[in-house]
Every structure is written in C-alpha cells, then in structure tokens.
Amino acid sequence: MQQLRDAGLDVFVVEEATTFDEVFETMTIIGQATGTMEEADAQISEMEAQLDEIEEMSAEVKEPKKVFVEVGSTPEIYTTGTGTFIDEMLSTINAENIAGDQEGWVSMDPEAIVSSNPDVIVTTEGAYVPNAVELIMGRNGFAEITAVQDEAVYNLDSDKLTRQGPRVTEGLLELARAVYPEVYGE
C-alpha cells in the first residue's frame, strides 16, 4: 500500500462489510470517491427495496430452520460464525446458523455438524468442486442428517454470498429460496 502511495497514487481502503448497512455505506463512500454518487444512490435504493421485501416475507416463516453454510471443505470444513456477512444474511431471513456460537470464519468438526443436525446445508464450493453437493451427501455419518435425508443440500454462488457488493441481495434471495422454498418460491 505504502508503495502505491509513494508512487503518487491516491489510495483508499474499503473496510470489509459484515452487515447490509455497512454494504450500503461502502457503496456510498465508493460513489463519493469515484464521483458516481448518482449511480450509487440508484443502486442502493434498488437493493434496499429488495432487502425490505425479503425481510418482510421472512415474517411468514413459522419455524426457523437450522442451516449449515459450508465455505470450505478441504483439508478441513470451514463455516461462518457470528460477525460474518453470511450470518447476517441468515438472521435476515429468520434462519438459525448452527455455527452461531462461533465467531468469524471457523473450521467445524464434522461430528459437530452431525450432532447439530441442520435442516438445510448450503455449500459455496461448487465453483471449485464439480460434485460438491454429492460429496456432502455422501460424507461418512452425514446420511442421518435431516438436510441430507430431505435432499436439502444446495450449492450457491459464492461470489454473491461472500463478496459484499451490489449482488448481495441477489445472493440473499437465492439463500432464502434454498432455505424456505415454501415462502420464497423455488
């Protein structure tokens, strides 16, 4: 960074957003910094509308489902605890994150996943692992998990879930549809 500054460039660091509000804030700042405030505002209000709609619909959820989000599988299984954007997304749609007692991006013992018995499993690894869903369903001991028995294991686009930009509400909708298809439609 100092090298860039030394070269006479204006350097501006965007902090990692972990909530929707922070995403909007970041977008505003970037809009100001790049002189595209109008576009930023338009984009933000469109996203806010989407977000409100999704949030409202979550009131229809009768029983919150337990969800496990897998963001890495090799050599260890990684998931996201509190203070992460994915955790924020799960609470927005009224779902329970089974790693909610952990903080940040953490590895999770397969035994702990089996014993917390999630209703839905979401993987973001499909971009690297072609048969990510089948691998999870076939994992040792996973056959007893509700999500696997109901075939509620889904692969979602990791960019929309883990890159905090204009596409996060799109990612949120995909997540909502995977977890509560009865509320958000397939």
């Binding site: 599988s73 090799t74 050599p75 260890e76 952990q102 953490v106 590895s107 999770m108 013992d109 397969p110 035994e111 702990a112 089996v114 014993s115 018995n117 690297y128 692992v129 072609p130 994992r139 040792n140 001991g141 056959a143 007893e144």
Partner: protein
C-alpha cells in the same frame, strides 16, 4: 516367559484403552455405553460408527504398520535411527500417491487398490535407491550415511511433489488435504484399502523375526547360522515398503512413529525381534490413536495435523537416540 506375558498384557491394555478413549472423546462426547447399546442414543451411535470408529481403526492400522516397518528397518540396517520417514521411503510413497491423484490413474483390476499399490511401488523404488546410493558412498553403510542419503532423497522427492502440486488445477485441494497427513474423514473404504496390505506386510516381517535376530550379529555370522541373507533381506525390504506404501496411501506422511515405538519397546522389553515386532505393532497402533485424539482435541474445534504431534514427540527422541549412540552409552 513371564516377563513377555506382562509386556503383551500391558501393551494390549494400552491399546484397548486408546481405542475406548479414541471413540468416546471428541467434539461430541459419547458415552462408552453406546458401543454395546447403539439404540440408547442414535445420533451418538451414528457418529461413533461412521465417523470415529473408522478414524480410530485407520489410525491404529497406520501406526501399527509404521512401527513394525521401523522395527524391521532398524534391525536389518543395524541402524537405530532408521524408520520409513528418515529413510525417505515415506516420501517415495507420497510421490507414488500424489502421482496417482495427479493423473487420476486407475489400473484395471486393481480399482481402489491402485493408490496403495502405486504408493508401495514408490516406496520400494526409493528404498532400493537409498540403499544403493548409500552403499556406493560408503560400503559399510554407516548410520549417518544412510540417514543423510534418506534426507537427500526426501528433499528431492518433496520438491517433485511441490512441482506436481504447482501444476495441478482442480485436484489441488484434494492433494493438499491428503498431504498434510491425517486420518480424518477417511471412512471405512480407506480401512478396506489398507488392511490387506498391512496384514500381509506384517506377517512377512514376522516370518523373518529369527533372521532379523541373526542379522544383529552381522550378515556373515547370520549366513553361518543358516540364514538365506539375500532372500530375507529382500523380503524385509519389500514388506517394509508394502507397509509404508499402504500407510502413506491412506494417511499421508506421518513421521517418526516407526522410530519412537520400536525404541521404547526395546528399552522396556529387550531387543529380541520375536517380541519387538509384535509389540511394536500393538504399541504403534495405540500411540497413533492417542496422537490422533490429541490432534483433534487440543485446539478443538480446529484440528492440528497429526504429523505435527508425532514430530513433536519424535524429533526429540531422534535427537536422544543419536546422542546416546554417539556417546557410546548404548
């Protein structure tokens, strides 16, 4: 005789204790009762039989294989520092395994046994190369020469693996996960994959227990004692490679087990190979089960690679043995 009975009893109790601890302790605590009464807690039984048990069995098999192979290498080379890891044989097996994963090789008729078989071939080739080179350098095959040769081959093979990893695209994660050395989430298929070779290899070594004893007096004396040196030597090298290859194929490189266990066994119960081999087998299994237990609980819920634990114990033991040898206290 009585002394041996005690040795076997203690070893078997240790192994049984390690197995029970291994299956009950973890992120989820499981009551040992689930072992004989699976219906008392079905989630626990599922975890026990599908996740923990295969892991414990695999750790036990790998530990047993590496320990008995180490015991045999030490006897054959009359070199207390020899073990599959220090001789570079593990690295040879790794190259075989990574090659199999890298090219996605499956040999017809072998099926799932392709991986262990190619690893064994890698192990044997490295073993022969290390021995050949060491002999060229120093006909008397001094301890340091053999170990140094092993290290040279290890580093070379290590860079071959790094090169292959750098060239892979998608399979990269699988290879790295395997390379770190772990018995986690391997499941029963891996147990099946390794078991036949471990049994055959251990049995072949056990057949040579008297020959190994005779070789302690030097090859010439052994020949006078009626040992077919060439045949025994070949059999021991091949079985040692089979054991190492199979162990590495299922768990990656886990160092120093073959060094620590036989040494402890000799220290406690003498150097008669008729007992060193089976006792190393049993205690090797117990040690690796415990190491695996430590590796997955010490910084739970994150896991430490098991090789870290074995090196933590193994490297000081290596230094100690070397020191003792050099000071001539042995």
């Amino acid at each position: 005789m009585n002394k041996n009975l005690i040795a076997y009893t203690i070893s078997l109790i240790l192994l049984a204790g390690a197995v029970v601890l291994g299956v009950t302790v973890g992120t989820v605590t499981i009551s040992p009762r689930v072992l004989w009464n699976p219906s008392s807690d079905e989630t626990a039984a599922n975890i026990l039989w599908n996740i923990r048990m295969p892991r414990v069995v695999l750790a036990g098999l790998v530990g047993a294989a590496l320990a008995i192979a180490g015991a045999a290498f030490q006897g054959l080379l009359k070199n207390p520092l020899a073990d599959p890891y220090t001789l570079g044989v593990s690295s040879g097996a790794s190259v075989g395994a990574v090659t199999t994963l890298f090219f996605g090789i499956t040999i017809p008729f072998l099926g799932i046994f392709t991986l262990p078989v190619i690893s064994m071939a890698g192990a044997l080739a490295t073993m022969l190369a290390v021995m050949g080179f060491a002999k060229l350098v120093d006909r008397s095959m001094k301890m340091e020469t053999v170990i140094l040769t092993g290290i040279i081959f290890s580093s070379f093979l290590g860079s071959v693996i790094s090169l292959m990893i750098a060239l892979t695209g998608e399979e990269l994660r699988q290879i790295i996960g395997w390379l770190l050395g772990s018995v986690s989430m391997r499941g029963w298929p891996y147990v099946q994959m390794a078991l036949p070779f471990l049994l055959i290899g251990s049995f072949l070594l056990w057949l040579n227990r008297r020959e190994l004893n005779a070789m302690l007096f030097g090859e010439e004396r052994a020949q006078h004692l009626g040992v077919n040196i060439k045949r025994s030597k070949m059999m021991i090298l091949v079985s040692g490679s089979v054991l190492t290859g199979a162990a590495v194929a299922v768990s990656g490189t886990i160092g120093f087990v073959g060094l620590v266990v036989p040494h402890m066994v000799r220290l406690l119960w003498g150097s008669d190979h008729r007992h060193v081999l089976p006792l190393s087998f049993i205690n090797g299994a117990a040690l690796l089960i415990v190491c695996d237990l430590v590796s997955r609980t010490i910084i739970s819920p994150t896991e430490l690679p098991i090789g870290v634990i074995t090196a933590f114990i193994g490297a000081p033991v290596f230094a100690f043995i070397f020191f003792r040898q050099r000071k001539g206290v042995a």
